[in-house]
Symmetry: C2
Subunit: 570 residues, 2 copies
């Protein structure tokens, strides 16, 4: 191929494609330049004056290297990789560092393989991180376990690019042997390790970084950013749906700029569709006063350097012809997107096939439970005082409130109160585990609702005021292979949204899924869920035993602050 | 090892070494910081407050990441790798990107292997580039040929870090098949390719860079630097003995800074000993007004990033404990140098063994010629007008002058004129080739002088006014295995300096070699060589057929501007 590139570069042959009369961003010098951009095969071969077999007039438009998302969980979009690509590629992102943490917790390595293979059919380079913390905690039942030996065996595989965000920072800092084994395996394989160390400072941070960890997307304060960058960490500026730290950009200086990169981490399909992906981050960063070329550099070259993606993230000879043509450096509206030199999106629309060519059995029908009955949801308390979970503003942190509860026939009575019964039903290994608790202040009435997205082990989370409805909800989720469900006790109706891939993502098209998702959410609100909550997704964090305070696992009620199980009886 | 690092980082165990009360340069933020620097094993494990099993008080001193030389030919020092290390490591350089272009032209891959293995006995990381242009031109006889197939077969070897400076830029730009094969082989092996493209611009530069070439150390103008950096090239700031472009630093901006790196390329032992290595470059750059932290960053982190040397070039947890402690950021006098966490030099003196533990036969006795006699140096001209080589100021570019020459018995007469006979005797393959010419204005009288350093094929270059002495000089060089020689016709004495390694480098200690080298140079001047010339090293470029104008090869007189052989008869 080199011969072809060289001949096109020196104009001995016509380039395959020329972006004529372009204004383009030079991330190496921070300048904006003008000229034609010539492409041969999948590479940029030169800038200057060129003629092409195909030419795209870019007069009045600005060409950028297309964006690289430094850290993302595709699963958070509830979309397949193909549909996810159909939303982000037209926005200008053509490379992502993806950590399939959720689906791997459900399906094990089959989850990684699925994301890898499915994404090969779309014009998006998915650099796949092997999730490092499966399960996230040892207290619950997940669909898979990847211990040090498993990591060692698998991280060497070519399709795995690195080791995913190392959330278990206590494990690193305490030099836990299995944790060390994971880290050493990644180093031995020459693969990058992503970090996740919120508010870790000083000697603990030194220890964490001695695990050979390269990045952090959890920084939020200037002090934290300054310390982490000075200690060699690449800091992500995150534009997720709920987790946002675009404000990090105000700590960029000309001296430390190369250590900032952009990511989205968790971003819902609705946001991707309506607001955008990294294009939206760039828009906001520039609106907030960041120099546009700096913003673009963080979204391109910096990320390429961080992840060792050579010949990517810039407009220069021999660089990958991954380009986005935008209206201007204020709005970042993508008119054309090129991946490997081919036009793959125009005016915000994908020009590629998103049919699901690869959808293996290993990621389908992942809701494995015995048939449940009303009796499974009987909640027997010792007295009338019990701990109830509440959701605090923001929707991820939960509280613990001591409530008064009556019982009848050995079963807590929640009807006519502000309480709901809560259950986490293990759905991976037929253990029969059902963790039970109480939930206060959600507003839902008259049946049950449930979801198979339950960070990070993704068991079934149920809420309800009727045992029969709760059983029906769980059984329905099993039947549809996972998703979200509402059971109306009065009408007997069951309404649901199917997330057939691991119970996390849908194999449907993005648009149809969105429409039905909105309808189900509206139904939940109609049945009383307060508008201040995200009807289903707020529930998905009630089982996440690394975020305070009271959480419910399939194995029981858990006090995160004490990092131990706790009795429901107060 | 991770466990050890982590435990030392969090102070669960004492660090092996602590640099106490250090002021240190943070290349990530461009700031100067204070604190202790803790080291465990070969890694920095943290900055902050630490206690160590061993502590070095750095009060009043400044700690820097030790330097990385981005491009150097060790052979230019005429020293073995061990002795070379003994001069540069105490100056603060602990990593070099070395291109053994000279010894490989003499000894082939055995030359590469020698440099690699010999340098393993000293505390200097030698990242070895496989020379890309052996021979430098197809017109002469070198000791080895590495064609595309040879590169393909060898570049995959672990001990080879990359492909050395691609001097054959016409070959790249014309997409010559064997050249393309070399480049593609390096890419396939995932190895970096260094560049060398003086004054190549525009579409030609695009074509050259489409070879996948990453660096250039030949830039000298602001325009050239701006274009090359904007096209993705890392630009070296060079501090060689004769080739200098420290002035490149004035084109550094905060936006393009990360693309500048330091190198020395060719630096003589005397300069290394008396002036220094990259420390001297830093001293001069700062004296010329460059911000000291920027200068240090170019010598450390930037070079590490360019060459993909992760965890090197900064003072941060998990980075290699390669450190230099200097008096200040003005003088850069190195008080201590640490390599992999061990003190390896103090107050400018090496603390390591430089004995030659590895000196294979394959790099010794490389002067292979038949015994020569006076008859071999008879120079028969057709008439009285002939072309004579002159050396132009600077010592590398040569001129061509038409001179009047008498002949006697079919042999040119140079005695009593300002002319000398010149000969290039092939010394690798017993071809018997002797290129003959005339040399004007050197000043030498009364015998012959010779050298086996003759860029880039390193045949024997001889000058003399007496055929007998010239034969004696060549035969003596054969006897000693290469080096430099002076034959005094009157006294019959032969004086020489042995360069036993490939005829290029000495296996002796740096100091003794320097002393004897100075003495021999003085003797040359005493025999008439004008002081404006470097008595021997100026000769070494008279056979380099890529630099104008008239050169003498073993195969004959060569006109570089016409890129063709030329007749001596004018």
């Amino acid at each position: 191929m080199l011969e072809k590139y060289i001949n096109a570069a020196k104009r001995a042959e016509k380039a395959d494609l020329v972006l004529k009369n372009a204004t383009f961003v030079d991330v190496f010098t921070g300048k904006i330049r003008k000229g034609d951009i010539a492409v041969a095969g999948e590479k940029i071969v030169g800038t200057g004056e060129y003629e092409g077999k195909e030419e795209v007039d870019c007069t009045g438009l600005t060409v950028l290297p297309s964006y690289i998302d430094g850290h993302v969980h595709i699963e958070s979009s509830q979309l397949s990789p193909e549909e996810f690509a159909s939303l982000i590629v037209p926005r200008g992102t053509t490379t992502i560092i993806a950590d399939p943490h959720e689906i791997t917790n459900v399906c094990g390595l089959a989850g990684c393989e699925y994301i890898s293979k499915a994404s090969q059919n779309v014009p998006l380079d998915v650099k796949l991180q092997l999730p490092s913390c499966v399960p996230a905690t040892p207290f619950e039942t997940s669909g898979a376990i990847l211990n040090g030996k498993d990591i060692e065996k698998n991280i060497v595989k070519d399709y795995l690019f690195g080791l995913g965000e190392f959330m278990n920072y206590p494990g690193v800092v305490s030099a836990d042997p299995d944790t060390v084994k994971k880290l050493e395996a990644a180093h031995a394989a020459g693969k990058i390790i992503d970090g996740h160390a919120p508010a870790v400072y000083g000697h603990d941070l030194n220890a964490y970084l001695c695990g050979g960890i390269s990045t952090d997307h959890e920084c939020v304060t200037g002090e934290e950013i300054e310390e982490k960058i000075s200690k060699g960490v690449y800091v992500h500026i995150r534009h997720g749906s709920s987790t946002q730290n675009l404000g990090n950009a105000k700590f960029i200086t000309k001296e430390n700029m190369r250590r900032f990169i952009l990511c989205t981490d968790d971003r819902h399909a609705a946001d991707l569709k309506e607001k955008g992906h990294l294009d939206d981050a760039l828009r906001r960063l520039v609106a907030d006063g960041l120099d546009p070329v700096t913003a673009v550099t963080c979204a391109t070259l910096n990320c390429a350097e961080c992840y060792g993606l050579k010949w990517r993230g810039a407009i220069a000879p021999f660089y990958l012809a991954d380009l986005v043509v935008v209206d201007n450096l204020k709005n970042f509206n993508a008119k054309y997107v090129f991946k490997n030199g081919k036009l793959v999106a125009k005016d915000g629309k994908p020009l590629f096939d998103t049919s699901k060519k690869y959808l293996p059995k290993s990621v389908l029908n992942t809701v494995r439970v015995k048939d449940l009955t009303a009796a499974d949801f009987v909640l027997t308390l010792k007295g009338t005082k019990a701990k109830a979970m509440t959701i605090l503003p923001g929707g991820v942190v939960t509280g613990c409130e001591i409530v008064e509860v009556e019982s009848k026939n050995g079963d807590a009575v929640v009807e006519g109160t502000d309480l709901l019964k809560m259950a986490v039903v293990e759905r991976h290994k037929l253990t029969g585990n059902i963790g039970k608790g109480l939930f206060k202040g959600y507003g839902f009435k008259g049946g049950a609702m449930g979801i198979t997205i339950a960070h990070d082990s993704h068991n079934i989370i149920l809420l309800g005021d009727d045992n029969e409805s709760m059983a029906k909800a769980a059984n329905h989720l099993k039947k549809i292979g996972g998703g979200m469900v509402i059971v109306d006790k009065n009408s007997g109706e069951v309404h649901s949204l199917t997330l057939d891939i691991g119970g996390l993502m849908s194999s449907r098209d993005a648009e149809g899924l969105q429409r039905d998702s909105r309808a189900l959410i509206e139904r939940a609100h109609a049945m009383g869920v307060k508008r201040e909550f995200e009807a289903f997704m707020s529930l998905a964090f009630t089982s996440l035993a690394v975020i305070p305070k009271l959480k419910l696992l399939d194995t029981g009620l858990f006090d995160v602050e004490k990092f131990a199980f706790t009795d429901i009886n107060a």
